[in-house]
């Protein structure tokens, strides 16, 4: 039973810890946006909500054992040199990438120049979330500017005091 329990924990919690934390952060941000009385606190909650969504998407692009999504042109050149003088030692070839020279020993010659997508993490969520970060900071900037205007007009940033002042002004007019 405890073996089963630890299996479930590792299967559903530890292996997907990024997603659990994304959901937790999302709920923290949503809670702050709903219940906090101060407008600045609400905006911090909104930013946490946004980063939680970005965390979710970037975690979806992660692959096990993959590296950053930048192609290594240099690796292909090294392969050509290595294929050219087959008798030569691999260690003497430039010595830039040990992993590449190792994999060329195992791989057949026709597969050497192919790019394996499994070696690189998926860049599509990264690019989408890059836009989301910039949109997020623009939203935060505009919201903070509006908060400053509210402070100038009402003299407070607390939501209940602002609503009370609006109500009092309506009753007067």
């Amino acid at each position: 039973m405890s073996v089963m329990g630890s299996f479930i924990i590792s299967q559903y919690v530890l292996d997907h810890f990024n997603f659990w934390v994304a959901v937790i952060l999302m709920m923290i941000g949503l809670y702050a946006m709903i219940t906090k009385n101060n407008l600045i606190k609400k905006l911090i909650g909104m930013s946490i909500f946004q980063t939680a969504i970005i965390l979710f998407y970037v975690s979806a692009g992660v692959k096990e054992g993959a590296t950053i999504p930048i192609l290594e042109h240099h690796a292909a050149e090294t392969e050509q040199v290595a294929a050219g003088d087959a008798g030569a030692e691999h260690g003497s070839v430039v010595g830039a990438d040990h992993d590449v020279s190792k994999s060329s020993e195992k791989a057949p010659a026709h597969e050497v120049h192919e790019i394996n997508p499994d070696d690189y993490s998926n860049p599509l969520p990264h690019v989408l979330m890059l836009t989301a970060i910039v949109v997020g900071v623009a939203t935060l900037g505009v919201a903070l500017a509006v908060a400053q205007v509210i402070y100038k007009n009402y003299g407070t940033l607390e939501e209940d005091e602002i609503l009370a002042k609006i109500k009092a002004a309506e009753n007067d007019g």
Binding site: V21, I44, I48, V62, L130, Q148
Partner: protein, 81 residues
């Protein structure tokens, strides 16, 4: 990604998020939010999203924290919650 760093940074993320929302001083909340942004930047560098990481470092930890602090100085520093 080294999973020990992953879990450590994620736990710190939740802690800094809660602290920045619970502290009553808004300047302290802004600074802790900058820490949060820097931690999530580290997380992205670890996950292989380097472009997202340096955008977050400049835009999230830099500009967001600066405009939050500027707003706090133009308004009030204390908060009711």
């Amino acid at each position: 990604m080294i999973w020990q760093f992953d879990i450590l940074i994620l736990i710190f993320l939740v802690v800094t998020a809660v602290i920045s929302l619970q502290v009553k001083d808004l300047l302290a909340a802004s600074m802790v939010f900058g820490t949060y942004s820097f931690l999530i930047c580290l997380l992205w560098a670890g996950m292989g999203a380097v472009d997202v990481a340096f955008t977050e470092a400049t835009v999230g930890a830099g500009i967001s924290a600066v405009i939050l602090i500027a707003t706090v100085y133009n308004t009030r520093r204390d908060s009711s919650d």
